[in-house]
Symmetry: C2
Subunit: 221 residues, 2 copies
DNA sequence: ATAGTATTCAACTACTTTCTAAAATAGTTA
DNA sequence: TAACTATTTTAGAAAGTAGTTGAATACTAT
């Protein structure tokens, strides 16, 4: 009892698995997350994901064939970027499922904290510090995400730009950074960088998602 | 220059690929889509996806290990269901990317129409018929999705229940069905079934997504 | 018990994916 | 033109994935 629909459905799901297959490799997922923060060349990506340029190129080809990324050649360099807004949201949805379903991820995060260096701040602590003007709150997500909604009174310094914008931050205050959610690593990386540069820095236990989920009205623009 | 973060990140992305790998098989994706419409037993699923029970069971195990589905044994039968709301949204996000990025999907849909039997109705046509009371509009998505927002004046008959609720539909009118979007096959399957049962039936070219995208206020509840 | 049914498991083969290393391509500079 | 750089391609070995078959498990009914 094979209906005309069935052949179609098979073809459709085969196409959709082009997307999921392309995302089924840790380095490719990491690549997408990096590209979500901004375009990059092959060489830069290779360094960031810790693979050979040849491998990186192959992975990028896989992503491109699935139309998850686009590339543009200018001179010697090929710059890759995320294909569009929907890919961005797909990554987000994936993180959400990971967050809600994979206990293993919880554990990874907890282990990270066991190292002690990355003890997170609770919302209460952070808000108190902020009210007493002992700290500044920094949103290290890409600018677009900040614009779409951020914690009130936070300033935007995307992780990618942090290195060049250190002079905007007060050395004497505590820098509190946050990103998307509990297990988004942008904030951790920011803390790492800031401490290297001699700042006092900590990250918020919760991310924007948790704030908005618990009823805090986010600012936009 | 490997930072403490890097090890964590690797572990995290490895965990996230458990999700995408589990979704990287056409039959497993189809299985998730079916489970999104309601829980099913292994045998039923096997029939619906067109595989042996043994294979189906193995695929279900893969999905379960990734925590995308849950199972419950009662008596002889094991019933599988989608793990939670977020998995649902992940599937949705995936369809959206497919819709926006994969020209191949467009083509599959167009090919289906070339077969002629499934010529879709435009919104204008449908609305005209509806105003003249020559047709009824049926939303064949799962009840939850209907409740979350549907085209005004549509009634809800989930595809899964259509077979048992045929007597609610007027034989003399044209049945216009719609589902999520252009290439969601729920509506096509509904049309197929309705025609088999002697109804006149067609499907809307657009789905809820397109309606809401073009500014139509959806009804809820 | 015994037979029967739904589901899972194990072992095997065929196929696909991934990494590496080396070669090829394409654009730039001297 | 040749030398150089960024990227892509290719071929091959190693690892992983998928479908089949037949057997094992677990529950029900007699």
């Amino acid at each position: 009892m094979s209906t005309p629909c069935d052949a179609l459905k098979d073809a459709l799901y085969e196409q959709l698995t082009r997307l999921t297959s392309a995302m089924s490799h840790p380095k490719r997922l990491l690549t997408l997350d990096l590209l979500a923060q901004g375009p990059r060349t092959v060489e830069v990506l290779a360094r960031e994901i810790g693979m050979s340029v040849a491998s990186t190129s192959q992975h990028l080809r896989a992503l491109k064939q699935a139309r998850l990324v686009e590339s543009e050649k200018s001179g010697l360099y090929v710059t890759y970027r995320l294909a569009d807004e929907y890919v961005y949201r797909l990554l987000d949805a994936l993180r959400d499922v990971g967050d809600s379903r994979l206990a293993e991820i919880e554990q990874i995060v907890r282990q990270a904290r066991a190292g002690r260096a990355f003890e997170p701040m609770t919302r209460q602590e952070a808000m108190q510090c902020l009210r007493k003007r002992e700290s500044v709150l920094v949103d290290v997500r890409p600018k677009e995400e900040y614009d779409a909604g951020h914690i009130p009174s936070a300033i935007s310094i995307p992780l990618a730009e942090l290195d060049q914008r250190l002079e905007e931050l007060p050395k004497e205050k505590l820098i509190v950074v946050y990103c998307r959610g509990t297990y988004c690593f942008l904030a951790l990386q920011a803390v790492e960088l800031l401490r290297q540069k001699g700042f006092r820095a900590r990250h918020l236990e919760e991310g924007v998602r948790d704030f908005s989920a618990s009823g805090v009205k986010l600012e936009t623009g």
